[in-house]
Every structure is written in structure tokens, then in C-alpha cells.
């Protein structure tokens, strides 16, 4: 995706190749995520000159991919910050996509000698880590916040660097949520192994007898918490993620009820919906609208309830 032109400034292509697409798919499933790092610095798209706009971004390859494929037929400079291979929003929250890094990078690539204007476009979500007035004070460059999504960047530039309210708003629609579910599932592998080992242990010492039916019920709970809750999120009643997960988990568990005796069924209804609730609660981190204070409040109620429900349920199972 990068090659060198005459002026010794690396050139970025706006075409995604087949391997780019495969890589982004792998990253979604959590395979080798950390190896998608780009060297920080200044890159060219098209044939930019001293009047061309400067777009700031992170050095996570998938972030750069999303940006560059929107820049066809555009001449622009791309200033890639060193965010340790993490996307703009998260890097901004972690403090790597930051005022300091931006000011230093502007100096290092001698941006003032490359362009004749004093304006840079920073993605809006980078504002979490960047203070526009401090960048102006320290570097002389004026930050204009671009749209949240790269797909709006052309329209933004063509409208004279103006973003509509839509462009300024983070969304979290069904597709956004759906593409996150593979990661939720891979993240659930570790806890799942622990659960299965515990079941095996209980079987082994002969206290309980867990069979293939229980495994199906567990998988049902997993799907309810990691896939169905994220996908159906806004339509499930309630606001807390754990509650939403519990509700779907309850429906799911009732499909798997063994129906042999009441106590056993009750055990199912205590254990599996609580597991769904736990997995759903973990989706708060992937969502784009939960606050720290909100999650703390949710956890105050959810964590003790989940633990209690699972413990009681396992005992009576």
C-alpha cells in the first residue's frame, strides 16, 4: 500500500487489495491484531502540493485503510501519529493520540515547509486526546475537527470543511454491532474453557452429572449474551446491558429446559441467563455510548446478582 515517490515522501494507495481485505477480516476475529502497525510520519495521497489539506490519523493499519479508500481522486497529505497500532478513538482515550504527539510529529516532518497553509484536519473522535487550542499555541497549526466517519471526509472537504450534525454523531447501528460479535465470541473462549473445566471437574468427582444437554444450554447462553444481545441491543427492553442479556438469556434458557423436575429447571433458569448477562455486560466496552459512571452503576447491581444466581443455581442443579 505504500511506495516512494520522487520527493522521498511515501505514497499511500487509495485502492484496497485482496490481502488488505483478508487482513481486516483476520483482525475482526482477533488474529494477529497487533501486527498491523504503520510507520508514523507524513504520507502523500494522489499528487498533493503546498495547498493540499492535511489529514491526521493513527498508525493502526485498519484505520489507515478505512481512511485511504475514501480518498480516491483526492490530493492530500496524511500525517500518521504514533499510536502504537491502535485506532484513533481508543488511542485518544489512552493518551497516545495526543496533543504532544501531534505537536512533535508536526515539527518532525517539518509540516510548515511542506504546506503553505496552517490548517490540519483531525478526526473528531481524536478530540478526546487532543486539545485544539493547545495545538494552535504550540505548533501554529489550527485544528479543524473532521467528521466521525472516514466515509464523510470528501463531502466534508467539498463543503468547505463543514460537518453536518449527522457527520458529528457517533452511531452504533446493527451492522456496527454485528461486526463486533466475532471479537465478543473469541473473548469468551477463555471464560468458556474455565466453565467447561469446572463442569468436567464436578462430573469427575461425581457430585453432579453434566451432559451434552447442559453443553447446548451453555452455548445457547453464550450466543444470547455475545451475539443476540449486541445485535438486538436497542430493541431489548431496559437500559443496562446485563439486564438486556439476562432477559434474552432467560428466553434462550427456557428453550433448553430439560423438564425432568422443577428444581432442575429452576437451576437452569438461575445459571444460564446470569451467564448471558455477564457476557452482555462485557459488551459495554465495545459499545460507543456507555459512560464510566454508568457502567459502575450497572455493575453494582449486576455483578453480585450474577454471582449469587450462578452459585445458587449450580447448587440446586
Amino acid at each position: 500500500m505504500v511506495h516512494f515517490s520522487n520527493k522521498n515522501i511515501p505514497q499511500i494507495s487509495t485502492q484496497l487489495t485482496f490481502s488488505d481485505v483478508v487482513n481486516s477480516w483476520k483482525a475482526r476475529w482477533g488474529i494477529n491484531r497487533m501486527s498491523y502497525i504503520l510507520t508514523p510520519g507524513l504520507y502523500a495521497v494522489g499528487n498533493p502540493d503546498s495547498n493540499s489539506p492535511v489529514l491526521v490519523t493513527a498508525n493502526y493499519k485498519l484505520t489507515v485503510d478505512t481512511l485511504r479508500k475514501e480518498l480516491q481522486d483526492l490530493n492530500a497529505w496524511i500525517l500518521v501519529l504514533d499510536t502504537k497500532g491502535i485506532n484513533v478513538w481508543c488511542a485518544a482515550a489512552k493518551g497516545t493520540f495526543a496533543t504532544n504527539e501531534l505537536v512533535n510529529r508536526i515539527a518532525e516532518v517539518k509540516l510548515a515547509e511542506v504546506v503553505s497553509h496552517k490548517s490540519i484536519i483531525v478526526p473528531q473522535l481524536g478530540a478526546v486526546g487532543i486539545s485544539a487550542h493547545e495545538v494552535l499555541k504550540d505548533s501554529g497549526f489550527k485544528v479543524t475537527y473532521g467528521p466521525v466517519r472516514a466515509k464523510d471526509i470528501k463531502e466534508f472537504i467539498n463543503a468547505g470543511m463543514k460537518a453536518t450534525k449527522e457527520m458529528r454523531t457517533v452511531q452504533f447501528n446493527m451492522i456496527d454491532r454485528l461486526v463486533l460479535t466475532p471479537l465478543e465470541l473469541t473473548a469468551a473462549i477463555k471464560p468458556s474453557i474455565i466453565v467447561l473445566l469446572l463442569l468436567f471437574l464436578l462430573n469427575f468427582i461425581g457430585i453432579k452429572h453434566f451432559g451434552i444437554k447442559d453443553l447446548y444450554a451453555y452455548l445457547g447462553a453464550l450466543i444470547a449474551g455475545c451475539v443476540l444481545t449486541p445485535v438486538l441491543l436497542p430493541w431489548i427492553p431496559g437500559r443496562a446491558f446485563a439486564f438486556k442479556g439476562w432477559l434474552l438469556g432467560l428466553i434462550m434458557a427456557s428453550l433448553f429446559l430439560p423438564g425432568e423436575n422443577l428444581l432442575h429447571d429452576l437451576g437452569y433458569l438461575l445459571v444460564f441467563p446470569a451467564m448471558s448477562a455477564f457476557y452482555a455486560m462485557n459488551f459495554t466496552g465495545a459499545s460507543t455510548y456507555t459512560s464510566f459512571s454508568g457502567v459502575i452503576k450497572e455493575m453494582q447491581y449486576a455483578v453480585p446478582s450474577i454471582i449469587l444466581s450462578i452459585c445458587v443455581g449450580v447448587i440446586i442443579l
Binding site: 481508543c90 482515550a93 458529528r168 460507543t288
Partner: protein, 99 residues
């Protein structure tokens, strides 16, 4: 359909006295919490605030305060277990907000 999280939890504080009406908070907020009414900013949807801190960081007048943090249960659990501040630890491969 709009996603809505818990009500009345945000730590967002806005001091209209200091506001110079530059509109930066409106520009940076990803959830349209602020709007400009007349010559000053106004909070129009506090419950949508996710405490990202972008508005406070970019308010040149220091008119906004918010306690920022990650809205991620996994990070908070890990923080509690390790006895550290909860952070988006991307290396675990979780979280879409993060990576």
C-alpha cells in the same frame, strides 16, 4: 433506533459564566450533548454523555468539567482484580471502541 444508556449518571459539569460561545464543545461531542443557544453553549441531552472528555479538553475557556473513564465492564473488572486504574487494554483483543 437510538441506543440509550442509564439516566442521571454523567459527571458532566458546565459553567455557563465562563463560556465564550466558541462552539467547540458542539463540534467535538459525539453524542450531541451540547448545542449553542444564543451566544452560549447549553446542555441539551446530558443522559447521552459517555464521559469521553472531548468537550472539556477542547473548551478554551475552561467552562466544562467531566470525570473521564472507560465505559467498559471488562476493563473495570480487570482494574479491580489487578488493583490498577481501569484502562482499555487493547492487547486482550477485546472491544470495538478500543481498536
Amino acid at each position: 433506533m437510538k441506543n440509550k444508556y442509564l439516566k442521571n449518571v454523567s459527571t458532566l459539569k458546565y459553567m455557563p459564566d465562563k463560556c465564550v460561545g466558541c462552539g467547540m464543545c458542539v463540534n467535538v461531542c459525539p453524542h450531541r450533548v451540547f448545542d449553542i443557544k444564543g451566544s452560549k453553549a447549553e446542555i441539551i441531552d446530558k443522559d447521552s454523555c459517555m464521559e469521553c472528555g472531548a468537550c472539556a479538553k477542547n473548551c478554551p475557556a475552561g467552562a466544562i468539567e467531566v470525570k473521564t473513564g472507560v465505559g467498559c465492564a471488562y476493563a473495570i473488572i480487570m482494574g479491580k482484580l489487578m488493583g490498577t486504574e481501569p484502562t482499555c487494554d487493547c492487547s486482550n483483543g477485546k472491544s470495538g471502541k478500543c481498536c
